[in-house]
Symmetry: C2
Subunit: 260 residues, 2 copies
């Protein structure tokens, strides 16, 4: 019957990733931690959920009093399972990550890490996704942990607006070179795809998705600017995808279509 | 060297679904059609992409002069493959669907159909996702086809704002009972999940995701209101997930955190 906050941790790199272990180490200073994370890497799964097959849940271990569970599902499945089935009470905070690799700019839409945070926001829970701009399995998470250690208690104390979650990206720099935190908007950038076309030993063609990340926005108010200039970026992220500014014009355009 | 518009069709129910065949029948009246769609159902895949495994592409058939190709990937993979690898020129329009089942309100975020349309918008292409509010494999697509037949030529002629795609949902009603089209915003509704907990023959517990869809918004400006009241809904949909209205306050809140 502890009064410490209950913190749910998930990620998309899988329950054994170095990033999630780093996040556990920070979060358990501030609350009772339970981990419900995918049993295998689920990067780039976006907001995918499992509706046409079954889900398994397994209790793996306790790591310094933290209960660690894995599921066969996506990051979003993990949040749904934890909140609906595994936990007796709603968590006070959901944290996702620390992702191995950037989720800045348009990556938010492909990211399993951030989709878990968005799903938590959808369920009315405060949520933060943390990502370190280093894809390596053995990336150095010291700076990311330092900022998680500042941001988690700050959010527990002050809250975040309902229906919004935070997309936090940490540059690949030593702590001493990071200048601070910028709250900013998702830069207008995108992947310019290429496919690497190959032939298998039986002569069949297959493809690997690859590509270059291109930033179309030069302003200083974006997450990419912040990260390029030595700041941690925080983008408040929501789930309303309506292009509100287009409604009026499109209503005019469609006013005579299909009317009776 | 045709001057007819080039229309790319995809979906998330798979290349053999009745919905995509209905969409092909309509679209080929207005342009040269190529289909690049998943080789199996990919519902609820969200904006998932395939980065850790390979992709196959197969030419299946020509159906009334329409080239039909399937891929082993997600709906978003299909758009990327078509635009980057399969087509020699950019399509003039991307249409996704017709989905078997609603993609109104928050379903947009889980939907493979709409993620394909959002991906096309990301690539700067006009795009429409069509969904019929009937999950049945043998659903009656006549009304949906009627409205696709109004909306597709309208969009080809008038365009849509850059970076925006249309989320079109059609109620499960006969054409004669549909009152017209409403351009509206994504209703604030959500799934209140339940998990159906079962035991397999070996005694192992597993779960099926299920739940009830609950609308928290009573206004008449939403897609759910339009659909409940006999209208086709169109929600202009974008890929900027920034909660712009929260930036200023959060900047104040974080102004002293981690500064040097």
């Amino acid at each position: 019957m502890s009064k410490r906050p209950l913190i749910l941790i998930t990620n998309d790199d899988g329950v054994t990733a170095k990033g999630i272990t780093s996040l556990i180490e920070v979060a358990k200073k501030y609350g009772d931690v339970i981990v419900v994370a995918p049993d295998k890497p689920q990067s780039a799964m976006g907001h995918a959920i499992t509706i046409n097959s079954i889900l398994h849940v397994k209790e793996i271990s306790s790591y310094e009093n933290v209960k660690i569970m894995s599921t066969s599902g996506t990051p979003v499945d993990c949040v749904k399972l934890a909140v609906t089935e595994i936990l007796d009470v709603k968590p006070d905070l959901v944290v996702s990550g620390i992702n191995h690799g950037s989720n800045a700019s348009i990556n938010v839409i492909y990211s399993g890490t951030m989709s878990a945070a968005v799903e938590a926001a959808l369920e009315g829970l405060p949520a933060i996704g943390f990502s370190l701009m280093d894809y390596a399995n053995d990336a150095d998470f010291e700076a990311a942990k330092h900022f998680a250690d500042l941001i988690i208690p700050h959010v527990l104390e002050n809250g975040i607006p309902k229906g919004v979650c935070l997309n936090v990206n940490i540059p690949k720099l030593p702590i001493s070179e990071i200048k601070g935190i910028k709250v900013c908007h998702q830069a207008n950038a995108n992947w310019e795809e290429k496919f690497d076309k190959r032939t298998n030993p039986s002569g069949q063609v297959y493809y690997w998705l690859t590509g270059d990340f291109v930033n179309y926005e030069v302003g200083e108010e974006t997450d990419l600017w912040a990260l390029d200039n030595g700041y941690v970026s925080i983008v408040p992220t929501q789930f309303d995808m309506t292009a509100h500014s287009s409604i009026k014009n499109l209503n005019k355009l469609f006013s005579h279509v299909g009317k009776r």
